[in-house]
């Protein structure tokens, strides 16, 4: 059962990665417009973009 010493921290580490992912998505504004996001997923194509920002 010594394998638990590796497996449990590994599981927790993966959980932590998930949490960091969530916090990142929150910070980058992905939850700002929940209604719009639902529609964007099924839109035919992205609106034409002008020259990319740089």
């Amino acid at each position: 059962m010594e394998v638990l010493v590796i497996l449990v921290p590994l599981a927790l580490g993966l959980g932590l990665v998930g949490l960091i992912g969530f916090l990142w998505s929150l910070k980058s504004g992905q939850y700002d417009d929940l209604e719009g996001a639902a529609w964007r997923a099924i839109a035919d194509d992205e609106p034409a973009r002008q020259a990319p920002r740089d």
Partner: protein
């Protein structure tokens, strides 16, 4: 003089050579609108970002600095068929947004911690039944502690802070028992882990926080959404003023960019957006939004004008006396201050519940500890049992009982056209048994309309409407609106103070004063009956008609009043307007109790009189003169067209032309209060079942977790019923 529009006030520097502006857009409701707007705006050269937010109904735009004028975006959106206006985030809304982001972060941390602690707890639960090596169990417990302690320290902040604030002011709120429960559960669990015990409560404590944060977040996001809508509506009113930027040069700027000392131009038909003094010109102004009086007042050099006044006939130059929000008639300000101070602080249902709840729970826990010690148990075992009582009674369901109902009910009210300004207004609204209505702008519509339109031949009305489009006079605007006129008559000429003249097919058309149209001898039957109406005449060659223009009652006012009476609510009208006008409205609506010519101080006195009789009074009003009485009433409501100050003072704001939202709001509030009480009883019932188990000392963490999530789910599901009210049921 042609005014240019200047929106530079709203443009922000987004860095790296880009400018940013936020626009509130009306009528965006679907994916089609979203892509249409984004494509339409992205097609403008030099635009680098055009993104629609469908939840808030706003567009964020960025473009190369100096390349474009923000006005061009608004024009482009108008071409696409959307009304848009620059939007400035109010401080309150920004604070709400930040708070809701923080709660979501806390919720994220708590939820991830719960999942991981549960992953460790379930093996321990099953291991306790079979045979787990104590070292393994200790390892699992230490891992749980490692996750739960920092997570609770972070995610518990909203509760710890609020509990601390309450205790510092010697109060108790729901967060006090929550914080004590969570902290004791965690502390006990650490001690138990050190002592290699079988049971720890890390899972229960962190799960409790997760459930409560769900409730908190729901509550917060409902308020944020309401604020966003209110912010959009405020922006879409597009309040601008024509400001003199040179001796003869004018520019149309947003109100926010006007400062005291500026001189603004007020044309006929325009609503004044600032407070100030007339320095040049002569006109009549309609101050019904301020005083409730529908009769026009003469304005000349030296007359004070207030935001919300409608200029009727001449052009005025006004020197702004104070910034747009911080103004007003001294008397109203003084009364409002007094009323706000006297406003008895309403104790929310949740706080009342927790005032009863906290002492009972803590006393029970203490008695449990003492009881077990007296019965010969060790101090250690007695304290463990006592903490188990606290954990099991920790008000998880109680904490969710009210916010979930509030969220669902406010969503339903939102769909019915009612916005909430304050969180506890639902509870207060449900108890209302007497409603005082203001007349002007509340029972009547704020805009003028032609009341005898049905008596005029359709063709004549259409031509009159087209002719009216050439004039800025508010009465002409009302004629144009009633006739649904779109295109002005070519070649029509306005004769100031008289009317408009035009030609169609060789016939001369005139719209204006009866004398101007040669209609002064026409029998004006309805004009005699209606003391409030302005009479205008319309002539086509030799045929002449009289049009009676006035503020009409809201279309469903009568139905609403009878619906209120049916619900056992008394209705009364208090108006600052003249007696004949108020009597006519009261008579038409079937309201027996009314008073006319009432001053703001009288209104407050009447409310106090009713309050001392034990009645729960709701005030519904829109005028500046209503603001003090809105603050003095038990609960208050304003239409969206109300004066700024009244809207900010009212607990609820309703949208649109009909008065029906008033009844809908009361129905939803009553249902919500019923469900809140029901939920509290459910929570109490759960405690009555669970506490004896906890006192007897047989509670395991598994029972605690199951009981907690079970009761929380029950309460949440019950709250969903607040979405609907039975039609026609009081």
């Amino acid at each position: 003089m042609q005014a240019t529009r200047d929106f530079s006030h709203y443009v922000r520097d987004a860095g790296s050579g880009l400018s940013h502006i936020d626009l509130a857009v009306e009528g965006v409701s679907c994916a089609g609108c979203m892509s249409k707007i984004e494509r339409g705006l992205s097609a403008i050269p030099d635009v680098t970002l055009a993104r629609v937010n469908l939840t808030d109904r706003r567009v964020a735009l960025e473009w190369k600095q100096g390349a474009l004028d923000p006005v061009s975006f608004i024009d482009r959106l108008a071409e696409l068929g959307y009304k848009a206006y620059p939007f400035e985030t109010a401080d309150a809304e920004a604070a709400e947004a930040e708070q809701s982001g923080f709660l979501l972060r806390c919720l994220g941390v708590a939820a991830f911690a719960t999942m991981n602690v549960m992953m460790l707890s379930i093996p321990v639960w099953s291991g306790n039944v079979s045979d787990m090596i104590p070292e393994q169990r200790d390892f699992f417990h230490w891992m749980s502690a490692l996750i739960a302690l920092p997570a609770a320290a972070y995610a518990g902040q909203p509760f710890f802070r609020s509990a601390f604030r309450a205790l510092r002011t010697r109060n108790v709120n729901m967060d006090v028992p929550i914080s004590i429960g969570v902290m004791l559960a965690l502390a006990l669990s650490v001690i138990e882990t050190v002592n290699h015990a079988e049971h720890t409560y890390f899972d229960a404590a962190i799960m409790l926080l997760t459930f409560l944060l769900v409730g908190r977040y729901l509550d917060q996001s409902m308020r944020r959404r309401t604020r966003a809508v209110a912010g959009n509506l405020a922006a879409l009113k597009a309040e601008t003023a024509t400001k003199f930027v040179g001796p003869d040069e004018i520019s149309q700027v947003p109100i926010a960019a006007i400062h005291p000392g500026d001189v603004v131009l007020l044309r006929p038909g325009e609503r004044c957006a600032v407070d100030g003094t007339v320095i040049e010109g002569r006109s009549e102004i309609d101050q019904s939004l301020i005083t409730g009086e529908t009769r026009h007042v003469a304005a000349e050099r030296g007359t004070a004008v207030y935001a919300g006044s409608l200029n009727i006939s001449g052009t005025l130059r006004v020197r702004v006396s104070a910034a747009s929000e911080a103004t007003l008639l001294a008397e109203i300000t003084r009364l409002l201050d007094n009323a706000l101070q006297a406003r008895s602080r309403y104790v929310r249902l949740a706080d009342r519940a927790s005032r009863l709840y906290a002492p009972v729970v803590h006393a029970t826990a203490l008695l449990t500890v003492l009881g077990w010690v007296l019965m010969g148990a060790s101090w250690h075992d007695a304290i463990v049992t006592g903490v188990a009582v606290l954990i099991i009674t920790c008000p998880c369901a109680l904490g969710l009982a009210i916010p979930t109902v509030q969220t669902v009910a406010s969503g339903a009210m939102f769909r019915a056209g009612v916005l909430l300004n304050s969180g506890d207004s639902i509870e207060r609204l449900a108890e209302v048994d007497h409603i005082i209505f203001d007349k002007t702008g509340t029972l009547t519509l704020p805009e003028l309309e032609v009341v005898n339109a049905a008596d005029i031949p359709e063709e004549a009305l259409r031509l009159a409407g087209q002719l009216a489009l050439s004039s800025h006079h508010p009465v002409a605007a009302a004629v144009a609106r009633t006739a649904n006129a779109r295109s002005p008559l070519p070649g029509a000429v306005e004769e100031p103070g008289q009317g408009v003249r035009g030609y169609v097919g060789g016939r001369e058309l005139k719209l204006g004063r009866p004398a101007f149209c040669g209609a002064e001898h026409l029998p004006s039957d309805n004009a005699c009956l209606d003391p409030e109406a302005s009479i205008v005449a319309f002539s086509m060659g030799e045929t002449r008609y009289l049009l009676s223009v006035r503020q009409g009652l809201r279309p469903d006012a009568q139905a609403v009043i009878s619906a209120l009476l049916k619900r056992g609510i008394k209705v009364e009208i208090l108006s600052g307007d003249r007696e004949p006008a108020v009597r006519a409205a009261a008579h038409a609506l079937g309201v027996s109790e009314w008073r006319a010519g009432v001053t703001p101080a009288d209104k407050i006195a009447r409310i106090e009189e009713l309050k001392s009789g034990g009645l729960k009074v709701m005030m519904v009003g829109d005028g500046l003169n209503d603001a003090p009485s809105l603050a003095a009433a038990y609960v208050s409501m304003s239409p969206i067209s109300a004066a700024h100050l009244s809207q900010a003072t009212a607990d609820l704001v309703f949208l649109g032309k009909p008065l029906a939202p008033v009844v809908a709001a009361i129905d939803f509030a009553r249902k919500a209060l019923h469900l809140m009480r029901q939920n509290l009883w459910l929570a109490v019932g759960y405690n009555l079942l669970a506490v004896p188990i906890a006192i007897s000392g047989v509670v395991t963490p598994l029972i605690a977790a199951a009981a907690m999530s079970g009761s929380s789910l029950l309460v949440m599901l019950n709250a969903l019923r607040a979405r609907r009210v039975a039609q026609g049921r009081p």
